[in-house]
Subunit: 414 residues, 2 copies
């Protein structure tokens, strides 16, 4: 090899190349791992947990397409279509609308990193896992965080929010639309208006609800909205949806300090996503094939129509609830008006260990359902009917599996 | 639909469901975008820029596999195999080795967010784009950043580094192994040892060099090393490789403050990746299919063998350099000893506009090459031979294309 190089670079002379020198003075000491000599094998599962869900066939097909460059006009076109798709599923005309190159947590953190500056007052609806995450991140950023702690299963009334706003004078309120750890659907009508009366911005997590429950970003006065790719959209995890109202954009563009993260700096992302008037500049390498998939997911939602998708999820939920009650199981969320259509929480039946049930269904039926998460851990089973998985057939399959699990799992093993 | 629900939840009574109430008082105002009713179409390109590169066929096949849950034992197995694969390609036995759920920038930022605290002294080799990025991020974190600015095309000698260490007493030094914006291969032998003599940690960017040039994390005393998936590994963009030495781990685990980012908190990522002794806890939804692809990329590298891969890249580079010189083109990096094998920089031939050449080759041959980036913008053309793209056939295809471009592109259009 050395010879080849010497031939090709006659200018080289006797000079020792850095790479050759490096190789000469070291040896491989970490052996090639044997596990990687075996083929990759992945089971086929029906994912009826709180997410990720199964990919829709058309989305899965998109994962096969070859990568193109991140500054090619064809990827800009895909990004533009994704923007339009997000505007549709969010029901917004916000120019500052884009997909972040990461999971739901990355979208939440992008929102907080850009909206909050150290010392800002931040009010958080903490009625489950996701509010607690917002609290954690807000504190890391150095905001004054005011969590409104609530037992899992509850939601926030306008009155409770107004008390928080009046008392803490926050610049930002966080609410979770679809609280997937507890199974609660937070009402959103009137909350945006209320926040704006108190000079506060409204940030909403719709990771688990988007496409499964009605949501109208502009009409509901939501300032920042985000969602994930791997729930109702049936895309692979790795991208998330994010949009800023003009009010929120103003707060971001008039910050006194730069956001601590470069990767999540929304002004830079906005430029790369063609949301400002300047020519697009490379910011980071976007997940090209992940964006193909997301584009296809959004196309599927456009073809089905948002309202039809909402209806389908509600019908599947209603059918599921009926079947669960038929098995003698009890729904965790007391108030039927606020049950989340996409993720249903069931009280762990008395005398059972939740893990036995989950494991039995996985091992015997290759179906995933989940236990609780964070504040709901140990208290509930979680069943997700997300996107293409929200069908009567799947509910029937699961009901059979649950029935058998309840018969086989020994009681009183706690 | 309302009826279905009422039937299924007899407990409901006259109560109005939140979702139904929401739908009743709003209407869809943002129409479904027509662009998403058309099928997705993606061109097939030969990607000979600085990245992303084309996916290897086996990697592409992995993109088709169905998603599984992020707490399933099979994904833990894939993650464990990825860890072993990274340990092999990095040549390290570090326990704290994992893939981040984002691009190369996310790995860089994860490293800096965890290694630096406000006020820490941070020394940066800034001889191109990537050092400048490290400067930017370091400043956002509130470190005292000391950039050693150098003209594009140069590298850092041990003596220069020692002067910086002695003068600034940094806790961390950043160097770019494969400077893809300038085409320089930074020597690394002796730099780790030197840093440690000054109580400084060494952080190295190997995004563009990993698999294409010799690198021995442990033997070279590198404390934190990261790389990307979309260069020599031929995976889709969306994951990045990261490893911490025990020394670096100690700095992270004895921080006085939490890292500002939750998403990039290495202590939490380490737990999720099974790098500590505690049971794994969900941290965020990892890019499941992206990890399948990365696993396959690492398997390909294990099958080929690191040294063979290094040789193949050096041979392809040598062949390319010969062909370029045959066209009368001049290499940008003067010192042949420090030319980066994976990304070659060529001086823009006098009288030509670099963009004309790049566009001509793209439009007429569907081959991507790139102009400069950051400090090298306008000065160079960049040609990448990355992973499965590093072959004589591709060099021949490109040479033909370049030859024609030089004939057709009008001179003196600057
Ligand atoms: C409501 C809600 N918010 C946020 C998240 C976090 O998303 P991710 O796991 O993609 O980071 C989830 C995911 O499970 C969720 O259900
Ligand atoms: C040397 C080097 N470092 C860092 C990066 C940044 O990686 P990404 O674009 O994946 O964020 C690149 C990518 O082009 C690179 O070549």
């Amino acid at each position: 090899m050395f010879q080849v190089l010497a031939k090709a670079s006659p200018a080289l002379g006797p000079q020792v190349l850095v790479w050759a020198q490096t190789m000469a003075s070291h040896q491989l000491r970490v052996a090639p791992p044997g596990a990687l000599l075996k083929p990759l094998s992945v089971p086929n599962r029906l994912l009826l947990g709180a997410g990720p869900s199964n990919m829709a066939p058309r989305v899965q097909a998109a994962g096969r397409l070859q990568v193109i460059g991140v500054m090619h006009k064809e990827i800009f076109q895909v990004m533009d279509e994704i923007k339009q798709g997000i505007q549709y599923v969010f029901q917004t005309t916000n120019a500052l609308t884009l997909a972040v190159s990461g999971p739901g947590h990355c979208a939440l953190e992008t929102a907080l990193m850009n909206l909050l500056e150290p010392g800002d007052s931040f009010l958080v609806g903490a009625n489950g896992m996701w509010g607690l995450r917002a609290v954690d991140i807000g504190e890391r950023i150095g905001a004054h965080v005011h969590p409104m702690i609530k037992e899992p299963g509850g939601y926030y009334t306008l009155q409770e929010v107004e008390e928080g706003l009046a008392h803490h004078k926050p610049v930002l309120l966080f609410l979770t639309h679809g609280e997937s750890s507890t199974g609660v659907l937070q009402p959103l009508d009137g909350y945006g208006e209320l926040c704006h009366r108190y000079q506060c911005l409204l940030l909403v997590d719709a990771v688990a609800s988007l496409g499964g429950a009605p949501l109208y970003m502009d009409q509901q006065g939501i300032d920042v909205l985000y969602s994930g790719s791997q729930k109702v959209l049936n895309s692979p995890p790795g991208t998330a949806l994010l949009s800023f109202s003009n009010r929120a954009k103003h707060k971001v563009y008039t910050r006194k300090t730069k956001p601590v993260s470069f990767f999540m700096d929304v002004t830079l992302l906005a430029n790369f996503w063609g949301c400002d008037d300047k020519p697009r500049t490379y910011h980071h390498t976007i997940p090209v094939t992940g964006l193909y998939s997301l584009r296809e997911s959004l196309a599927l939602m456009v073809e089905e129509g948002l309202e039809v998708s909402w209806r389908r999820h509600h019908e599947a939920m209603a059918y599921l609830h009926g079947r669960l009650q038929g098995l003698g199981l009890q729904l965790f969320v007391r108030d039927p008006a606020t049950r989340l259509p996409t993720v249903t929480t069931v009280v762990v039946p008395s005398g059972y260990n939740w893990r036995d049930i989950v494991d039995y269904i996985m091992d015997s039926f290759s179906i995933e359902i989940m236990g609780g998460l964070g504040p709901s851990a140990g208290k509930v089973l979680r069943i997700g009917l997300l996107g293409c998985n929200a069908s009567r057939e799947n509910v029937d399959r699961l009901t059979e599996a649950l029935k058998e699990a309840l018969q086989h799992c020994s009681r009183n093993r706690l």
